[in-house]
Amino acid sequence: MTLVYYVNLAMNGLLQGLVIALVALAINLVFAVGRFPNAATGDYITVGGYAGIGLQALGVGSPVLQGLGAMLASMAVAIAGYLLVFRRLFGRSMVAALIASIGIAFFVRSVLSFFVGHDPYVFKIPITRAIVVGGVRLIPTDLWLGAAALVCLSIALALLFFTPLGRQMRAVADNPELARASGIRARRVMLTLWVLVGAVCGVAGIVLGIRTVVAPEMGWDVLLPGFAAAILGGVGSPAGAVLAGVVLGIAQEISTPFVGFTYKIALSFVVLMVVLVVRPQGLFGTLERVR
């Protein structure tokens, strides 16, 4: 019985972990290529959630179409953020981009909360009966959401590792000067980066929104676990960030019976602190030289 209980918790955690993995991937990409921690990541996710709700209000019931809308909306915000703010901060200190990203986070959230208020919205998804396999409850909606997140993660990683654009992006992340010297067009790489980040955030927004509720703070609340996973996985290692996100999600859920509901949020912070002290380069990252 107890084992089944923990397996159920772990299944819940797996889905939450896939969401954190999406957040961590979005953070990691910007960290590696744009070279700053993007605090607006969470609010790009919130935009995706609201875009899905907006489509639902317009009568679009298909979760796939809602997801595509969410991706487009998050991409639009991410690209706007790059063109209007981050592009102009190129060559400035990392601190400038970090503070500006906080500004973008607040601004995006304020626009959303001004027009749609603070009341949470829910996706009208038909309630499905859980499939019970040996005491382990599998909820079909959750399986679909997990599959969607997995597909998104796989496509993003495949783009990074198996396409010329992905290779260029990794080259810029590795050594911007060398990348430029070998004829890689930085601007195109940056635009691709933000398109990819927006798409990942959009999927995270829709999955998180369907799983819980859509509210102005939904993205900000997953930002810290996302940072923790990105750092645990290692900056510059997108696959590591994804793996760390999944591990963190499962660990959070399994810890709930021991530390209580409120303190499970603290777990990501504890992980963050321990990693920063013990192994700042993360599990799979390479130690970056301090410039």
Binding site: A100, G103, F106, F107, V108, L224, F227, T262, A266, M273
Partner: protein, 294 residues
């Protein structure tokens, strides 16, 4: 009207203490502290709990300062090893955890209900009027002391060291100086200022809840520091003045612009903070008055 000005003055003094502390962290030493509200909360709750337990006010205030400084010690030690962007994330996480602890440990903090009936200072002078005036005077003194401490530090060999830490830590190491101890002490001192501000806040409002200690407060303080110009004391003062004028002004604006609800006003305030952070970073990184790197 006089009473109102005194109230605004008290709030101004509380924010200014936090801004001065943050300025010491970021403006003078280059350490990114995104968790100033955490030290503020620790100060407020420590002082309130001590006073509610019957401790003398002086002990409560001293406890607040000490608790905030001690909470900053492990983060300060981490600051030595971490690149600054990691410190930013770690401090942001720290302040969120402080809030989670306050919400969860109901036996001590009464959780989301909040702590009420916190004793006032100068209670013998009655409520309002002279008592508030005396409180304002005390906060002004605290700010003056903070400014003098910072000036003294900045002018001392220690101060030249911490500014050198900000501008070029490598060169400093090459000269055989070890910035480690200085960084930790500066981090603790700046947090102590926030702790003191928290104590003033708790005994002024007499009622505190975890909701008052959200990250937005940290970024109010950042906005004040950036607007005034990081690394300058007059900048911190001017920036805080603008911040409080903005926070108070937005309350009046609602009386003149009909049809804006309190919730919408909160969104507009958030938008203004966001825009200020973006626009100042883009167009006026040195702030309205100052230069960051001289």
């Amino acid at each position: 009207m006089d009473a109102y000005l005194v109230a605004v003055g008290i709030i101004l003094g509380i924010y200014m203490l936090m801004t001065l502390g943050l300025n010491l962290h970021f403006g003078f030493t280059g350490m990114i502290n995104f968790g100033q509200v955490g030290f503020f909360a620790i100060g407020a709750y420590t002082s309130a709990l001590l006073a509610l337990a019957g401790a003398p006010m002086a002990v409560a205030f001293a406890g607040a300062v000490l608790a905030a400084a001690l909470a900053a010690l492990p983060l300060g030690l981490m600051a030595l090893r971490l690149r600054i962007e990691y410190l930013a994330i770690a401090t942001l996480g720290f302040s969120e955890i402080v809030r989670v602890v306050i919400v969860s440990e109901e036996w001590l903090t009464k959780g989301v209900q909040g702590l009420g009936g916190i004793p006032r200072l100068f209670a013998s002078l009655g409520v309002g009027g002279n008592a508030e005036l005396a409180y304002l005077g005390l906060i002004a003194l605290a700010n003056l002391a903070a400014v003098l401490i910072i000036r003294r530090i900045v002018a001392s060999p220690f101060g030249r060291l911490i500014q050198a830490v900000r501008d070029d830590e490598e060169a400093l190491r090459a000269l055989g100086k070890d910035p480690a101890g200085y960084k930790v002490r500066v981090f603790m001192l700046g947090a102590a200022f926030a702790g003191l501000a928290g104590a003033f806040y708790a005994h002024y409002l007499t009622y505190i809840t975890p909701e008052q200690f959200v990250p937005l407060v940290t970024f109010y303080v950042w906005m004040a520091m950036i607007m005034g110009g990081a690394g300058r004391i007059p900048g911190a003062v001017a920036g805080t003045l603008i911040l409080v004028l903005f926070l108070e002004g937005s309350r009046f604006l609602r009386d003149f612009v009909p049809g804006v609800s309190e919730v919408e006003m909160a969104s507009l305030r958030l938008a203004a903070v966001g825009l200020a952070l973006i626009l100042f970073t883009l167009y006026r990184p040195q702030g309205l008055f100052g230069g960051y790197s001289k």
